[in-house]
Symmetry: C2
Subunit: 249 residues, 2 copies
DNA sequence: CTGTCTAAAGTGGTCAGACCACGGACTGAC
DNA sequence: GTCAGTCCGTGGTCTGACCACTTTAGACAG
């Protein structure tokens, strides 16, 4: 006997679902491009055979995904999805997890290590010069945690960019806002400690040299060593935090 | 003279935006949990002080992000965001790029190499036994591309799981549907070539041995060697494809 | 002719009320 | 106890009206 299974809601898509799919497909195929302006809601609803509130449901969903920019009084414009939608999705996925930042750091290490390997093979001379300039900026801003943190991030971002991989770049950009604080805070914690600062600078320099020599294994090794310095700092911070508590009690 | 700047729309959030934020914040904070059922639309709209279509705009947006499951006649239920929303976001981000699959493979390599390093440090004995069993399954299904492809994927997924990193796991799960075809197709291309098949099996075995010996550098090296076999296959396929065309013309 | 101001038109944002479609619970008949 | 029908609560959709913002066109003054 044939089992009568419940119809999945996808078999009878709602009006809003149909409109959403209509636009998403055209966005994915490139038929609709960033900057394109959609017809007005009233005309569009008529054309697509739905009521205006139903159309608005679909358009609002697309807007929340960063695919449309809806402007009051002006119209709805197509946007290209950027890394922020990916970052939002990642935040939503990881929200229930404890120690998100430490875990996201693992993803950052993963992306950067693969990126620097690819960069050793693919980076142009211009890429290398840009990264060298950012290394200089990093050195020049040792006494300014905000600028230094920004230069630190830019140095790493330029390496990922030099990989020539959009996937790696998008994921990195999605992750970075979550981790941006750590760049700046580490600078705040360390910029008055010359031994640590020079160690960090030297680590960055070694990373760049291995990249410039286009040695993937060495570049990854140096990059991992650079991250290990951060691990050491976090451990020392934990120790001093708990010793501080011991004294208080 | 004070320049009169245009008010950003974020300063005057629309009703739907406010409702969306209301729910997203409660989902992120854990105040709303998977399985929770929302009040009915009419009551909810009254409670939040918006009309029903406005509420529906917000709820629909949350549903499209995978955060709600709206059931006709039954109500709206909270879902926890899973990797599919991340995968959708990634697809949207990368849609304009050429050679998406090759590029996403780089992200896969990045994730797996970091994951296996972590797994060397963190995997339980149970993890290792599960991975060993999946290696056996992989070996046993050499003559069946579908099962073999699935076993291949499961082997790799178990390694990522053994890393104990949610971020790596979520990204890997987001990426995998895009790459699932390559697991199965490679099996189709190779399962009748014993030299290649035994090479693949040996590569997987070496990966597992390094992991069981908890040697992060060796495990990563073996894993990269395993991926290099895939590179070689893809290159040979390209050569034979173009040689085939040469004969036709 | 040019610049300014105002009104109208076009656009999105919202509301209220009515009706349709689905799912589940309850009741009555067999 | 089972089955069918009805009712209720829920989501899905539509229509029409009105509000808020932006742009355009026309009138008027210098």
């Amino acid at each position: 006997m044939l089992d009568i299974v419940r119809q999945d809601t996808d078999e009878n898509p709602s009006g809003a679902d149909r409109v959403f799919t209509f636009f998403r497909d055209r966005l994915l195929s490139g038929e609709l491009k960033a900057g394109d302006r959609l017809l007005g809601e009233r005309e569009l609803a008529l054309t697509l055979g739905v009521s205006r509130p139903v159309l608005r449901e679909a358009l609002r969903s697309l807007a929340m995904l960063g695919l449309l920019d809806i402007r009051h009084g002006r119209g709805a414009y197509v946007r290209s999805a950027d890394a922020s939608v990916l970052g939002q999705a990642l935040t939503l996925c990881l929200a229930p997890e404890p120690n998100i930042l430490d875990d996201v750091l693992q993803a950052r290490i993963a992306i950067e290590c693969q990126a620097i390997r690819l960069a050793c093979l693919r980076a142009s001379e211009r890429d290398l010069q840009a990264i060298a300039a950012l290394l200089d900026t990093l050195v020049d801003s040792l006494n300014d945690p905000e600028t230094g943190g920004g230069a630190d991030y830019a140095f790493h971002l330029a390496i990922v960019r030099a990989s020539g991989s959009s996937a790696l770049m998008k994921i990195y950009e999605a992750i970075s806002p979550l981790l941006m604080r750590s760049h700046v805070e580490r600078r705040r914690d360390t910029f008055r400690e010359p031994a640590i600062t020079s160690g960090l600078v030297e680590a960055h320099r070694q990373v760049f040299l291995a990249l410039a020599q286009r040695d993937p294994d060495e570049a990854e090794r140096r990059l991992r060593a650079h991250f290990a310095i951060g691990d050491e700092l976090r451990r020392k911070n934990l120790i001093s935090t708990y010793q501080g508590q011991g004294k208080a009690s």
